[in-house]
Amino acid sequence: MKILNSLQRGNAEPACEKCAHFHNDPAHIEEVYRGLTTMSSGFASVRDRDGICNYHQLYLSARDSCQRFTSRMPA
């Protein structure tokens, strides 16, 4: 089935999480999304390690990746 082709088993190495464009600190997410703490939390399990990509302007998984990756690590 076409839909199952998108499945990836196992735990892939995080990509976006190490990107300079990506921000998933729970406190930051709570700051950006005012009202989140009223009935949920930036520190909740359901959020996993999702965060905001300021390059693509998306809210996505820390396990995603793209060719615009810019390492946070000093060169």
């Binding site: 839909i3 190495e13 990509a15 999304y33 909740a44 809210y59 996505l60 060719q67």
Partner: protein, 469 residues
């Protein structure tokens, strides 16, 4: 506009530091609620085995009718309230420090909210309180809303208003008061009922949103918010389907708006219909969006039992049926929803900016871990209680073990309900726009009507017979 390359960049993480995966598993609010809740239950059991009880520190106000009577009660128990404050403060400060929040801001904020909670708890025990509809959850919410929207508080105080942490801790403690046999008995019905309502509500919101021309991802984020577990579901699905950065605030605004209306409206309607507390709790569990909001409504409705209003059942029945529907029937499926929607998203909606693989592991990663604490707590106390006669249970086990845990549970819930009000700043909520509002409202209407039919007409006999410890 960003580029649209699908290919995974093979150079993205050659020497990156270890991702905090293990750390995130151990240090989310969910896990801390589990450790703390189960720790309290085990401590209570140790004291109980030693022929003592934690009831000294698990203080709660008793009924009072005059101010001199209240003053006597407070002067007698003042030191116990201070001890409880100190215990909570130490434990919670450890938690917030570990998960990465600022203890310096948390401490004064928590003292503030504890004092307010004490006042609300005491007011709720005034013997005329029910005459004036002073149900503690509603008073807590209303007082919080007035303080945050009329008076205003400095934002740094939000550090102590941890709605989710308090409610999760309360739910774990609630598990200790529910027989595991009840979860086995009523769980399948809860799952069946909640699944029917969740799927129909999601589809109603999704297709209305699509008909109105909204993006598929926003439609899914809104649908999950209305169908599964409110703001938590919306934020989880946002990540799963790679929503636009601006999508989550739209869902947050709509969920908060309707959830607050329902905290007041659902108990009011259930009261007018004289629903038994177990049935009312099930309906609230099916129709409210967020755990904390629904518990406020369910506890408020349960509090009306036995007050000459024609409402049968007990307060705990409302909480039990609510929790079964909401936690077992809806919350635990969020990972499945995320996986399915992520698959649909990458297969048919084709967001092209990022790598498009979906990982099965998110079923566990997004699983609301506090549910594990809730189930373990239920199993623990069921084993402890097992073998006692009803007379022994009422004379020894209940006052020595169950009642103090129930008291701490009520504190956790009160802290949470007050925090909802204190963190709801209406002017700060995003303007959702008319189309998302219409789509979400259609789902709300479908949800409430279908939830009523299933909770009252189809499974009413089931929910009215819920048994608690």
């Amino acid at each position: 506009m960003a580029d649209s390359n699908i290919t995974l960049d093979p150079t993205h993480n050659p020497d990156a530091p270890a991702a905090p995966l293990r750390r995130s598993l151990a240090l989310t609010e969910d896990w801390w609620a589990v450790w703390l809740g189960l720790g309290i239950i085990i401590l209570a059991y140790v004291f109980y085995l030693a022929g003592s009880s934690i009831s000294w520190i698990a203080v709660s106000p008793t009924k009072w009718s005059t101010f001199p009577e209240l003053a006597t009660q407070l002067s007698k128990n003042g030191i116990r309230y201070l001890a409880l404050l100190a215990a909570f403060l130490v434990l919670f400060t450890i938690v917030v420090s570990f998960i990465g929040q600022k203890a310096k801001a948390f401490i004064p904020a928590f003292i503030f909210i504890f004092i307010l909670s004490t006042i609300i708890y005491i007011a709720g025990n005034w013997d005329q309180a029910s005459k004036y509809n002073l149900e503690p959850p509603l008073v807590a919410l209303l007082l919080g809303l007035i303080i945050s929207n009329v008076i205003g508080l400095p934002r740094w105080l939000d550090a102590g208003f941890r709605v989710e942490f308090y409610i999760k801790l309360g739910i774990v403690l609630l598990g200790a008061t529910l027989p595991f046999t009840l979860i086995i008995w009523a769980g399948p019905v809860a799952i069946l009922q909640a699944s029917i309502v969740s799927i129909v509500t999601f589809l109603a919101i999704f297709f209305t949103a699509r008909k109105l021309g909204l993006d598929q991802r926003l439609a899914a984020v809104l649908g999950a918010g209305g169908a599964v577990c409110g703001v938590s579901a919306s934020i989880a699905i946002s990540g799963a389907v790679r929503a636009k950065k601006g999508d989550p605030p739209i869902a947050i605004s709509l969920v908060v708006f309707w959830a607050i209306i329902f905290i007041f409206a659902l108990p009011l309607i259930a009261r007018a219909l004289h629903l038994p507390t177990g049935v009312g709790g099930a309906w609230i569990g099916t129709s409210e969006f967020a755990d904390a909001a629904g518990l406020a409504a369910a506890q408020s409705y349960g509090g009306l039992a036995g007050k000459g209003l024609g409402i049968s059942g007990t307060a705990d029945q409302a909480l039990a049926s609510y929790t079964l529907i909401k936690v077992i029937g809806r919350d635990i499926w969020i990972g499945i929803w995320a996986l399915v929607l992520a698959l649909i998203s990458v297969t048919y909606w084709e967001r092209s900016e990022t790598n498009s693989k979906v990982q099965v592991g998110q079923i566990w990663w997004r699983f609301p871990k506090f549910v594990i604490g809730f189930l373990v707590a239920s199993i623990l106390t069921t084993l402890i209680v097992h073998g006692n006669s009803l007379a022994e249970y009422n004379k020894v086990v209940k006052p020595g073990l169950i009642t103090p845990i129930t008291s701490l549970r009520t504190w956790a819930f009160t802290l949470s309900f007050l925090s909802i009000g204190l963190t709801t700043r209406f002017r700060e909520l995003a303007n959702a726009g008319i189309k998302p509002f219409i789509a979400f409202t259609v789902g709300v209407i479908v949800n409430v009507i279908l939830g009523y039919i299933l909770s009252v007409i189809v499974f009413g006999h089931y929910w009215s017979g819920v048994i608690t410890h």
